[in-house]
Symmetry: C2
Subunit: 496 residues, 2 copies
């Protein structure tokens, strides 16, 4: 009995290990130097911008702007043979001319110059490279692929991790490092989500969405052509990154999908991984091939592999962000039994529909919980789950009493809280803030607290910052977020 339970408890861990042994061993042989250097790549003290420029028509201008305006506290070294300084910072003709150690080099010069620059970098023991330059494996020309092979050989020999080529760059927001050509990314909030993406365009879509939704990142990494830092390497690094709590992936196609899957499985659910995979359509698959030089591959195979590996699957860029944000803000529910507490009936009905179709149970309350709710709401109200708190809408203490009783119910795994602003109840969020703070991280609370812009924003922001809830603009998206939490919990502990 005991043995049967313990074997079954992590069935995938045991079943999976042997299948991936070869992959893992091969990987383990090569990654120790790379991983060590990735730590420096993401936390450099001195950063060279090779191709730094004061000409706004050049990417080297925008990278310099990112580096100088992002609050980076280390040393910036512009490299440009034609300039004495760039943006007021002394420039060097070659990277080797700088008299100190350089940890990270960001390169924006044309592809054909890259082998020489790599040589120069490795000669002075640069520990990491962000290679923004395009024109390698992604172009429909064998010369691009050949050039990529050449520089991959150089980087691997030196044991230096390279983000790119053909990338917008990367950010370590916690280190105030914006090593990208998008200075505006420094406006992002600092948080726990690491986004690793095969597409610069999608990274920007998600980043700009995040600015509108309080989503907060530890790192954003555009993998580009993945010279020697692929999804698997990023997973390995981020699983040990204390600043990252949730890993969000955008991917189109992989050369070694099993390597990524093995890396996630090996983590034993240490951190949630959410993935959004495109290229499912005929057209999308072809386009993906042109984009980053990988076929998107059979969508159904990925779907099964994600699940087996313990990766939660998102179905749109918006959902990827919703899921990652929820997992970064909320604890996991013990199961699928949820309570819906709503200030208005309609949103409660919309949420109930989504819950049921996503397999969540709108559970009956414990008799004691029900007794309390019955005491606080008039007989004519909807007092069973989903509870319409409308009749108590103007009594802060009744609302608080209902929430407290339901949160305290051991038969309830998570709470969906829906409150729509009414002029007569402007104080509704303030009224429950301390209760939610008190309960934070005990059970997941997903919410749709919605008001005209500017009215509840600061209070909701604070609640999210403190991990008291995850808020969404609609009741349906709140319900879907709860379903994602429950799904992840079930992948993690199928027998509980």
């Amino acid at each position: 009995m005991q043995l049967a339970h313990s074997t079954a408890f992590h069935p995938r861990k045991h079943a999976g290990r042997s299948a991936y042994t070869n992959d893992l061993q091969r990987y383990a042989m090569t990654d120790s130097t790379l991983l060590k250097n990735m730590e420096i790549l993401f936390n450099p003290r001195t950063v060279a911008v090779v191709g730094a420029s004061e000409n706004p028509g050049k990417l080297g201008f925008h990278v310099m702007k990112s580096m100088t305006s992002g609050g980076f506290e280390g040393t910036i070294v512009p490299v440009n043979p034609g300039a004495e300084s760039v943006m007021g910072i002394p420039a060097y003709a070659a990277i080797g001319d700088f008299p100190g150690a350089i940890d990270l080099a960001i390169i924006v010069l044309p592809a054909k110059l890259v082998p020489g620059i790599f040589d120069a970098c490795f000669r002075i023991h640069v520990k990491g490279i962000v290679l923004i330059t395009a024109g390698f494996k992604e172009i429909d020309d064998p010369e691009g692929a050949a050039l990529q092979d050449v520089i991959a050989g150089l980087a691997n020999k030196a044991g230096v991790p390279v983000i790119g080529p053909n990338t917008f760059g990367m950010l370590n927001l916690r280190h105030n490092l914006n090593a990208s050509f998008t200075p505006e990314f420094s406006l992002l909030s600092k948080g726990d989500i690491a986004l690793v993406s095969q597409s610069g365009g999608l990274s920007h879509v998600i980043g700009f969405l995040a600015m509108r939704q309080n989503a907060a990142f530890s790192k954003i990494v555009g993998l580009g052509n993945r010279l020697n830092v692929d999804f698997a390497e990023m997973i390995a690094y981020l699983m040990d990154d204390p600043e990252t709590r949730v890993i969000a992936l955008y991917l189109e196609g992989l050369d070694q999908p099993m390597k990524l899957m093995a890396e996630v499985r090996q983590s034993h659910f240490a951190k949630p991984v959410v993935a959004y995979k495109t290229g499912s359509s005929r057209t999308g698959n072809q386009a993906s091939s042109s984009h980053t030089g990988s076929l998107a591959g059979k969508h159904e195979i990925y779907k099964g592999a994600f699940r087996q590996a313990g990766i939660l699957q998102a179905h749109s860029s918006e959902e990827l962000l919703d899921m990652a944000r929820t997992l970064s803000l909320c604890p996991l529910p013990g199961g699928r039994r949820v309570a819906i507490l709503t200030g208005q009936a309609g949103p409660g009905i919309a949420a109930a529909d989504v819950c049921e179709s996503a397999g969540l149970e709108i559970c009956p309350f414990h008799p004691e919980t029900q007794r309390v709710v019955n005491e606080l709401l008039p007989p004519l109200a909807m007092r069973t789950n989903p509870v319409d708190m409308g009749p108590a809408w103007y009594s802060a203490s009744a609302i608080e009493g209902i929430i407290r009783a339901v949160m305290d119910d051991e038969g309830v795994d998570g709470l969906i809280l829906l409150m729509t602003f009414a002029s007569a109840n402007r104080g509704a969020v303030t009224g429950i803030s301390s209760l939610l703070q008190e309960w934070r991280q005990r059970k997941p609370v997903v919410a749709c607290l919605i008001a005209p812009p500017g009215i509840w924003d600061a209070e909701i922001s604070l609640l999210e910052k403190n991990g008291a809830l995850a808020n969404f603009p609609t009741p349906e998206r709140a319900a879907l977020a709860m379903a994602a939490l429950a799904e992840y919990q079930e992948m993690k502990s199928p027998l509980q």
Copy 2:
């Protein structure tokens, strides 16, 4: 041949007429006075607020605030026996004391007082009523239903349309009329969408969403318990309302669903109708019953009936707004052949996936179009549909040339335009604005133009205002919007 075509052209119109004849005739007998008075209800010159108050704890305070701060240009008549004035406006003890004609009465007093107030209203020939008061059919008490029957008898005898009871009210934004208890609704933009909703909560969710998404309304109507103004009456009225171009419905359950369906069919697709129906789940259905006194009913039956009636179905509050907004901004496509033009590959792939799964065709271009695209993009770029304009990303004239050629291609029914902000291409939207303006309303353009908040907002807003495109925060939602346009077009003209 000619006859066969003309019969087949509107197959549902012919097939449907006889089935609904009884319903339509019964309806036609009662609605002429009601419809005439609805015109006055929505465009009153003098509005009485029965229960007006200066106490912020009363709904009568918030209604007065809505009326006084919404820019209403007519006369406001506070009715309150205990006050000489409310918010600086002379008050009357009873509605009959006002010496002039009153077009609309907004009532916020307790249910038991309503029959008496109705009597008083009809004695002075009030033409319309917004009855915010709750405590009628929606409560689980036969007295509530009985009281509703009494006031329905009074209203129907007088031929006076009543919005409510148990509603937040209604707005005619084009008339600066905010007859609701939510003054903040006056912040909404004036546009072409009429939202008719069975839930006050959902109306507020959608309204507050709309404030964040440039969605603009002609009217918002909370039907509440639907005393004598139900969805069918609103459809009849709005089909003739010159200020409304698209009708969006939120519904849970109907007493006479066929009456609504008949009304929409009878309009012969004069205006698009989009509906979001909840209550599909067991729990949702029960909750809906308590909410507005109607069972939600079998979801599958509604789904079929919507399609037969020519109503486009949305699956979430967000989608309802996305669809309504697209239909209000874009012309309909001739068919399902779309072009995807993207500034970055990733968003193009995500959109292509959605298009294919929604049945849109990412069509090949006409040879002449392809010739132009090939001229403007280098050989290594993705030049067939979906086109990655990335390599021309910094040449405004090349981008414009590509868009123009594709828009001009008669084999392309609609355009999905995706451009993600890059610091080096801040001017991208400006660069194509005049082209899009020139082409507006010729073919639908749905877009995901996304930037950090504040950067492209004004330009996008202007393009939307002029009907040059409908913009979405993600490529997937843009693609879904195009699919909705095509679906509506096919319902409208199945044989084209």
